[in-house]
Symmetry: C2
Subunit: 210 residues, 2 copies
DNA sequence: GGAATAATCTATACTACTATAGAAATAGAT
DNA sequence: ATCTATTTCTATAGTAGTATAGATTATTCC
């Protein structure tokens, strides 16, 4: 039993910490960073407002932490897909599709990342911004590959295409609740739209072996 | 001269009023509704904070006014296109394209409408929400028409398609400054993406006369 | 030029929010 | 059983924000 307790200690600390930031994420997502008070977060946890400062040093620090968790959800998924050996069409489809998952599963963190990171002070905004640029770069890489390999139209503007597709999939956070579709239905549908918007019009020469 | 003054009076009142709401829009767009103080607005105008209340009855009322102006820019453009007699493909292209115009020309108002209207109290949020739904309905109407007439794929989900395309064009407000393209280049490009994402794959039978 | 209207000002009540300091309570380790 | 580290608490300083009341200045009209 002593060993069990010992084993449980670290995870339990971890767990309380998670509860704090879950609550912060929820309040930030629902009321916006400036509309959220540390009192709101404390209320959700049933603790005193001042006690929160045991877990973070400032409201801004809490925002950065929540944003970092939110961004990580996107980055990890995207990195994994970028690394596999599927073709550009399938990679783009997968990128767009898995981008929906964090939006559906951790909406408080991802919405805070997407909508509230702009209120971070310069330093932390730069750190979080780096994760955004990583995601953008992965999309751009796949688009470029698709053009090179002839699966996508050759007259695409890589940057605008990336912005357009990311804008489309990110918008899910706004209307997910009104769509009356499951997250995976939405993911598949938007992934198809993304692919349709870039694919070459003339038949893409299936499986070229040189 | 008396007549000139008289003629100038109403417009001048109008003008000052516009300055007030221009400043409010700017501050709301830059700092977010909750991050914006009436003091910030007054500073921009070089007037005292309390004097603003001569022009609006509360900060919330100012937000509703700014949002209404922002939404109107979208609605008017969309209504006009919906009413003309172009085909669905051209209508969708035009809808997506002109949607960019207000985002580029009145960014403070449109960004406030898009990002801050959610903080309005229930009553005014409903009023502004009506304008959003009008825009959505116009997009849906054109998508439906395109399916009916065979220009668009017949397996589209009207609602998801509308959400996807609107999400894409609305996202311009976030990245316009980073795109290094003119608003009209962006407008044309995204309009093409939108059309590409819905067009029928098999040749769309040009000009059917029955 | 003087009355009436419009626009802005001063002063302030009231409320709310962040963050710090230090005390109290809780729980784990020996 | 007690020591120690962790966690939460009370109390509060300090700041900032919205909105109202009523005085004051500027403008228009005759």
């Amino acid at each position: 039993m002593a060993t069990e307790r010992a084993a449980a200690r670290k995870p339990s600390i971890r767990k309380r910490n998670d509860e704090i930031f879950d609550a912060a994420a929820r309040v930030f997502a629902e009321r916006g960073y400036h509309g959220a008070s540390t009192q709101d977060i404390a209320d959700l946890l049933g603790m005193r407002q001042a006690s929160l400062y045991y877990y973070f040093s400032s409201k801004e620090a809490a925002l950065e932490e929540v944003c970092a968790i939110g961004a990580a959800g996107f980055v990890e998924n995207a990195e994994e897909i970028a690394a596999n050996d599927a073709g550009p069409t399938e990679k783009l489809r997968a990128l767009a599709s898995v981008h929906i998952t964090p939006l559906a599963e951790r909406p408080d963190f991802t919405r805070t990342f997407l909508n509230e990171r702009k209120w971070l002070p310069t330093e932390s905004r730069r750190r979080i911004g780096g994760m955004s640029r990583r995601i953008e770069a992965i999309f751009e890489g796949v688009i470029r590959a698709g053009m090179r390999q002839g699966e996508f139209r050759s007259d695409l503007n890589v940057r605008l295409t990336m912005f357009g597709i990311l804008g489309m999939v990110n918008s899910v956070q706004i209307w997910l609740d009104r769509a009356n579709k499951t997250p995976s239905e939405i993911a598949e549908y938007l992934a198809d739209m993304a692919v349709a918007s870039v694919r070459a019009v003339d038949p893409p020469e299936p499986e070229k072996n040189i």
